[in-house]
């Protein structure tokens, strides 16, 4: 059951100065099959952060994202997005969502795929095309507006879906392993582009991955999650200099933080066989 939200509840002390854009308190999710997908999760995310959720399969990272997006409802606990409950947030179109797969509508061209949310949200007709074209330029696909999705590579399709998520200018971006199916080279390029986008737009991004280097490279903070039951093991800040470049991956701090993450994952027995 959802608990009633009281905006003036005392916030637990944290290192964050800004008012949190996302706040997760004591959230648990138990599926009908009895699986405990998420247990007592607590998390505060500030405006402009890039948060990665990392962990092995079954640790509840996608569940957490889907809970934030109001695609499912929590069994217990409270979630606030910009002070609203997730359903209100969804209805006020507070976030964009990028799925594991591009999820493009095969009957629409690249341009009209990006225009889809604008049509759904009744943006003025004149504005839609301009916005969509701008977003496509942002992801470097301005030359492919008239193509159909199947004419693009997987990486390009995923860029279209990012452009689509940005099209209506939400403050929050939820990304669920968006680059999971791509090859390493494409993935690194897209990582850079994503960071550029993040800097240029000032969005808050919550990013699900199970790649440690990717998480370290992208994030301002890494939320390490462990399975059975799914829970937040620890939150590791990433204080690598901005803007990050290819060279960032060569820094000793990069490896240090990566090791920290790996150890946190191991601590939660994430990779050990448990009976």
């Amino acid at each position: 059951m959802m608990q009633s939200n009281t905006p003036n509840t005392h916030l637990p002390s944290s290192s964050l100065e800004a008012r949190p854009i996302v706040s997760v308190r004591q959230v648990s999710m138990v599926f009908q099959t009895g699986t405990v997908a998420l247990k007592d999760a607590n998390l505060e995310i500030a405006q402009g952060e890039f948060i990665s959720l990392i962990g092995p399969s079954g640790c509840g990272k996608t569940t957490l994202l889907r809970l934030l997006a109001d695609l499912i409802k929590p069994t217990s606990g409270t979630i606030l997005i910009s002070g609203k409950n997730p359903e209100e947030a969804r209805k006020s179109r507070a976030y964009g969502y990028v799925f594991q797969a591009p999820t493009l509508m095969e009957w629409r061209t690249v341009l009209s795929n990006v225009m889809l949310p604008l049509e759904v949200m009744n943006f003025p007709a004149g504005e839609r095309k301009a916005r969509a074209e701008k977003m496509l330029a942002l992801v470097g696909l301005e030359k492919f507006t008239r193509h159909y999705p199947w004419q693009l590579s997987g990486g390009m399709q995923q860029r279209v879906s990012i452009a689509r998520a940005l099209a209506f200018d939400p403050q929050l971006l939820f990304m669920d392993e968006p680059f999971g199916a791509l090859d390493e080279i494409t993935r690194e390029n897209l990582n850079l582009e994503l960071l550029r986008l993040w800097r240029e737009t000032g969005k808050t991004i919550i990013f699900v991955t199970h790649s440690i280097p990717e998480a370290v490279f992208l994030s301002t903070r890494i939320v390490v999650m462990t399975p059975r039951p799914g829970k937040i093991e620890t939150v590791i800040p990433v204080n690598l200099p901005q803007p990050r470049t290819f060279e960032t991956r060569e820094l000793p701090e990069f490896f240090q933080i990566a090791t920290e993450v790996r150890e946190a994952l191991r601590k939660g027995h994430g990779y050990e066989v448990t009976e």
Binding site: W107, V120, Y148
Partner: protein, 323 residues
């Protein structure tokens, strides 16, 4: 360097066409000498006809390879046109050689000349059968089918309570309905329209429902993340997704509609219609007129099918099947 597939030698190409021309020549020559004969041909001549047919068929099989890679639809149709021509000419020659009575099978030339003689009446018949009966019934049946599928996909109760029946009903031989419906609705065109509507209804419901529900779950999540209303969800996701499925049913429906209308007329017609004409003339051994009516029905059927297929390409050009 890319090796181009070598073009067949010119002499080979010529040989293939020679075969074809020789086969046609044999058949046409026989038809010419037997045009006014009323005696069966000799065994040697019959053998010659079969030989001509085989030569022409072999010729087509080889010539067709030259048309395989063309994108021009008219040129690409050449092998099919040649096939039809060979079959028609062979039929003409064989029917003349064996002197098959026109009361059993009329020769193609006889059918064609009859066709021109009776074309006006056949066009009137076609109007009654195609426009009033098949088309009206088709539009009603398809329209109701899509609406039903929308409702069924929206309400789980309807899906569970109605859809199993629709699936079951689509395996019912619709012809069995025809006499009952003609009795119920009367012998005018309306009864045939009802038969056609029922015939096309069930495939449309079943197909459209599949199209509306076989949507990727991620796309549904996406629509939800946009807080899209249910109407928007249908408008932007489910209906476009269902279009290829709907068009499959619509294409299937064109032939079902023609057959439904014609069969319906067998159980009573008000003096017009292709089914009426076929029934009357078949009873009189007027098979030249029966075949003329068949030609009209087929031409309309093909045109109708292609019209729907054209619409499909226009509206669902994005679909896998057109890549």
């Amino acid at each position: 360097m890319v090796v181009q597939p070598s073009k067949p030698a010119l002499s080979r190409v010529l040989l293939d066409w020679m075969l074809l021309v020789l086969g046609f020549g044999l058949l046409l020559w026989f038809i010419a000498i037997w045009w006014n004969q009323s005696e069966p041909a000799s065994d040697a001549q019959k053998l010659l006809i079969w030989g001509g047919f085989l030569l022409a068929a072999l010729g087509i099989a080889r010539v067709a390879n030259q048309f395989v890679n063309t994108t021009n639809p008219v040129i690409g149709f050449t092998p099919a046109a040649l096939t039809l021509l060979v079959v028609v000419v062979t039929a003409e020659a064989l029917l003349r050689a064996y002197q098959v009575p026109p009361g059993l099978i009329p020769t193609p030339s006889r059918v064609l000349s009859t066709f021109f003689a009776v074309r006006d009446v056949l066009l009137q018949d076609a109007f009654q059968t195609v426009v009033l009966e098949a088309l009206v019934g088709y539009l009603i049946g398809c329209g109701l089918g899509v609406i039903t599928a929308l409702l069924v996909s929206r309400y789980v109760f309807l899906e569970r309570g109605l859809l199993p029946y629709a699936t079951v009903f689509s395996s019912i031989p619709i012809v069995a309905l025809a006499p009952v419906l003609v009795k119920m609705v009367g012998i005018d065109w309306q009864s045939k329209a009802v038969i056609v509507a029922i015939t096309v209804f069930f495939p449309v419901v079943v197909n459209t429902f599949r199209g509306l529900t076989e949507v990727s779950p991620l796309s549904l999540d996406l629509m939800r993340s946009y807080a899209a209303s249910e109407v928007q969800q249908y408008r932007w996701l489910r209906l476009p997704n269902a279009l290829p499925f709907i068009f499959n049913a619509l294409k299937l429906g064109t032939t079902l509609a023609m057959i439904g209308a014609i069969v319906g007329e067998f159980f009573g017609a008000n003096g017009q219609g292709l089914g009426f004409r076929i029934q009357i003339e078949a009873g009189r051994f007027g098979f030249d007129i029966v075949w003329s009516a068949i030609i009209v029905a087929s031409l309309i059927g093909i045109a109708w099918y292609n019209l729907v297929a054209w619409l499909e390409r226009r509206l669902t050009g994005w679909h896998v099947s057109f890549r």
